[in-house]
């Protein structure tokens, strides 16, 4: 399973992407990420109000079916553990 988090917008208008491939993780951690990712379809939400806010898009590939949801910063509380896990890695820019 591949999990990708995209953050766009903000004052600098810089798009960053963090991704994780559960095949490259130790078994226990891969299972934990997959458990979190299984909830992702419920995380869609409105953009943050105002201007220069960060916008997030989360994509899950290789699960039972592909999921793509968008939400404004800081994101739904349920999504935070997965977002934090992804953001531990080094992002790729555009």
């Amino acid at each position: 399973m591949k999990v990708e988090l995209e953050r766009s917008g903000g004052f600098a208008g810089r798009t960053l992407r963090w991704s994780l491939d559960t095949d490259t993780l130790p078994h226990e951690e891969a299972a934990a990420v997959a458990d979190l990712a299984a909830q992702a379809a419920h995380w869609a939400g409105p953009p943050a109000p105002g201007n220069d806010r960060f916008a997030y898009r989360l994509r899950i590939l290789g699960g039972t079916e592909p999921v793509e949801v968008s939400f404004g910063e800081p994101g739904p509380p349920a999504a935070r553990p997965l977002m934090d896990r992804l953001r531990k890695g080094t992002p790729e820019g555009d």
Partner: protein, 346 residues
């Protein structure tokens, strides 16, 4: 954002006469925001002695600033650390925000006779030290928010006066043209914040269009980053090119317009096109950019015919029309020429 009064004045007057002290204070304050003469006479009749006179003569020429400390949390507004007329705190972010809000207030007042965000003296609220190494500044619909930056790419966002002017201008745009934050109208919204943000800095420094650097966020790039700023209105696409930060991808003309689903359709990217048009108009007109080019853009932003969904072309023709109204054919032709150079007007 005018204060809306949903309770009829007759009811408020009744509360002002017979309510508890708290109710009386609230009712009088609410009535005081209604500046009609009829209400003025009615309030004068019930105002208790000793109550501070409410401003019934229009907005003040001094700002009402309040700065909060977010203390590393993502919660607003945070703890009040400095309000209007109080001394410096020694916290650079707090004092930069306070001074920057003041410089922006002065710019709008003296350049366009505008009293704050809503032209009615709206208090200016800002939170600094928002979030943990937070790499951003934003307007949340009612206040400005500034992060400290990650320290490696970006330093604290209050370092750049144009960034403070940019955020406050989002409030002005929300009060005037209400440009939809998506696609071209969103890129116009962004560009207007860059235009007036950089004009705040030029006004503060007393710079002419020729002397100005036309950079956005020059002071907040961390040492060692390969770049001069976050954006360049003079040469969009050249502000930075760094192995970690990446490369400035702003287009200067319609030929480079970026189609993307990120960032509300690339609002911080395609803003390079109207940004460059403003730079070209301002430098062609010469002198202090806020006096002629800035006035034209300000009039366009306030034009009643400009819709929230306005695209580049409509905004461009609006600036040409208002330039003719406020100035003359020469100014209008310089403005038209600028939009032609960036490919918005053929």
């Amino acid at each position: 954002m005018p204060v809306s009064c949903v309770v009829p004045p007759t009811v408020l007057l009744e509360i002002a006469r017979r309510g508890t002290p708290d109710q009386r204070t609230w009712a009088l304050w609410t009535l005081a925001t209604d500046t009609s003469l009829r209400t003025f006479r009615a309030v004068a009749a019930v105002r208790p002695a000793g109550l501070v006179a409410a401003p019934l003569t229009g907005p003040s020429d001094t700002p009402k600033r309040t700065v909060y400390d977010g203390a590393g949390q993502e919660q607003l507004p945070g703890k009040l650390v400095r309000d209007e007329g109080t001394a410096t705190t020694g916290d650079e972010a707090v004092d930069e925000a306070y001074d920057g809000l003041g410089a922006t207030f002065d710019f709008y007042l003296h350049s366009y006779e505008r009293h704050s965000i809503d032209d009615q003296g709206l208090p200016l609220l800002a939170t600094v030290h928002y979030g943990d190494h937070y790499d951003n500044a934003f307007w949340n619909g009612s206040q400005m928010v500034f992060g400290d930056g990650d320290g490696e790419l970006f330093q604290r966002f209050t370092r750049s006066l144009d960034v403070i002017g940019h955020e406050l201008t989002h409030g002005v745009t929300e009060d005037e043209a209400r440009l939809t934050y998506l696609g071209q109208s969103g890129a116009l919204n962004e560009s207007i914040s860059d235009v007036f943000g950089t004009l705040v800095k030029q006004y503060h420094l007393g710079q002419t269009a020729e002397a100005a650097d036309w950079l956005i966020g020059a002071e907040l790039l961390a040492p060692g980053v390969h770049g001069v700023a976050l954006r360049s209105m003079k040469a969009p696409g050249t502000a930075y090119d760094d192995p970690v930060l990446g490369k400035d991808d702003q287009p200067a003309t319609m030929a480079g317009y970026v189609h993307t689903t990120a960032d509300n359709g690339g609002v911080h990217t395609n803003s390079g096109i109207p940004n460059h048009a403003f730079y070209l108009a301002a430098t062609a007109l010469g002198g202090k950019a806020w006096e002629v080019a800035g006035r034209v853009w300000y009039d366009a932003l306030r034009d009643s015919r400009l819709k929230p969904t306005a695209q580049f072309h409509t905004f461009a023709t609006t600036t040409v029309r208002v330039a003719k109204q406020a100035f003359d054919n020469d100014v209008a032709s310089a403005v038209r020429d600028a939009w032609q150079q960036v490919g918005v007007i053929r």
